[in-house]
């Protein structure tokens, strides 16, 4: 599909590479589907994406994290399609010389992912209802360089 998007179940082993000799810290994050969202019993989710811009945005987040933080490696994989409770929606692995930067980069990347990547979440509830979750608008009025 794309480098950072997968229609298949995610396994952390896909992102874990051998530890780098110059890194003392590896932080991994797995975001899974919870059985409850704002008090409603969740049955499952469906993630869709505008893949060209979503994949580019995820690649940009990885690059920018490597520039902003003292880390050596940051990888992100986001699941698309239908997910049940407990299924992994997003995986992230970060390697850094020291743990502070690894944790900070991981949190920054996840926060930025939520704000900037064209991925859309439809939540299905146990009572049969479903909702497209609202999120962050990507509208900008003018080009950065205009």
């Amino acid at each position: 599909m794309s480098e950072h998007l997968s229609a298949n179940p995610l396994a952390l082993s896909e992102l874990f590479s051998a530890p780098r000799d110059d890194c003392g810290a590896t932080v991994a994050f797995v975001g899974t589907v919870r059985n409850l969202h704002q008090g409603e019993a969740v049955d499952g989710l469906h993630y869709s994406a505008h893949e060209p811009s979503a994949d580019a945005a995820l690649a940009r987040i990885c690059d920018e994290a490597r520039a902003r933080f003292d880390i050596r490696e940051l990888r992100i994989l986001h699941r698309l399609g239908a997910l049940g409770i407990g299924d992994a929606a997003v995986l992230l692995v970060c390697q850094a010389p020291h743990r502070e930067a690894a944790f900070e980069a991981a949190r920054w990347a996840l926060e930025t992912l939520k704000q900037q990547v064209p991925i859309f979440k439809q939540e299905h509830y146990v009572d049969g209802a479903s909702t497209w979750l609202d999120g962050q608008s990507l509208v900008t009025s003018s080009s950065p360089d205009s």
């Binding site: 992912l113 608008s137 990507l138």
Partner: protein, 79 residues
Amino acid sequence: MTVTVEAYGKLIEIIPQPLRLDLPPGRVRDVIAALAEQFPGAAEDWPRVAVARGADILPRDAAIEPGDVLALIPPVGGG
């Protein structure tokens, strides 16, 4: 000119696919204005719908070219 418009996220429930739009040469904001007129049911959403061309999210003042394939990107929320 003619552009193709693809809907994403919740907009797939409002905008029939595929959608061809005929409109005078213009910018992203003109495409959004044309869609808002054609699909007034999503009126409150249009100011928050971004437009992508390929991997790029276009600003409202970006020029549109004939034949462009434009993706409508409602508010995002992955992760």
